[in-house]
Symmetry: C2
DNA sequence: AGCTTATTTAAGCAATTGCTTAAATAATTT
DNA sequence: AAATTATTTAAGCAATTGCTTAAATAAGCT
């Protein structure tokens, strides 16, 4: 409680302390969550996840045609999604197929649900 | 279908077209969603929303003490949250109290639920 | 009116992001 | 083996982000 900015008389010190503890307990969960959300909050990556949900698997050049983007641009997005376990890669000949992993399906489900069933509610 | 990158013989043109249409229909919803998620994917802002969920209302300097950040830093985050209707501001004397708006409670609920009840699942 | 308190706004800056182009890998076909 | 195809990696760069500090607003107190 060293550096206090709130010095007004109505300031509720107990409230501030309680909030600090609440955040302190949630610190790790918040970091883990924002780490994942920062991936999903990119529209190209959300689109990739969205089509992978219905298509089972797609290769890099499929996605490049679908999104109308260069292959390296798509590849770099896929690497981020793979690094954080959103997708997995399977090599078949010289083609690499990407598909959704189950790891974060629970996190993604509400987003897909919003997009499909109540887009006006966003 | 002008610039095709996928020229391998197994390429499924129908699949690519279907995905393009799927994305085309979802375009607006995806933009609106990522616009909001990019706000929530910042850990400072998620913490602000998280404590506001339980505390009803807090002023800028409360939050500055809670988060151990400078007042302008907090103020700038609050402005973004306010611009996108996540929070509302009520002036009371020279103090400005911020509280959660109902607009995006549905979007936020799954996040708070994860943080509180199954942090290990993130 | 002048001083303090609460907050916002603005300028500056380092770090991050997401693209582009070019080069490097690797598997396939000729 | 050489050429083609699929993908990744790396360097470069413009745009964005989130902080810092300082200045501007605005409301209360003496």
């Amino acid at each position: 409680m060293k550096d206090m900015n709130c010095i007004r008389k109505e300031a509720d010190l107990d409230q501030i302390k309680r909030c600090q503890e609440q955040i302190s307990e949630a610190e790790e969960a918040v970091s883990a969550l924002t780490d994942k959300l920062s991936l999903v909050s990119n529209s190209v990556r959300l689109k990739i996840l969205y089509v992978l949900q219905t298509e089972e698997r797609l290769c890099v050049c499929d996605l490049s045609d679908i999104l109308n983007m260069t292959i390296p641009a798509v590849s770099q997005h896929l690497r981020k999604l793979k690094d954080r376990d959103f997708v997995k890669a399977e090599k078949e000949g010289q083609t690499i197929f990407y598909s959704l992993r189950n790891d974060h399906r629970e996190l993604l489900a509400p987003f897909f649900n919003l997009i499909i069933h109540q887009p006006e509610a966003i």
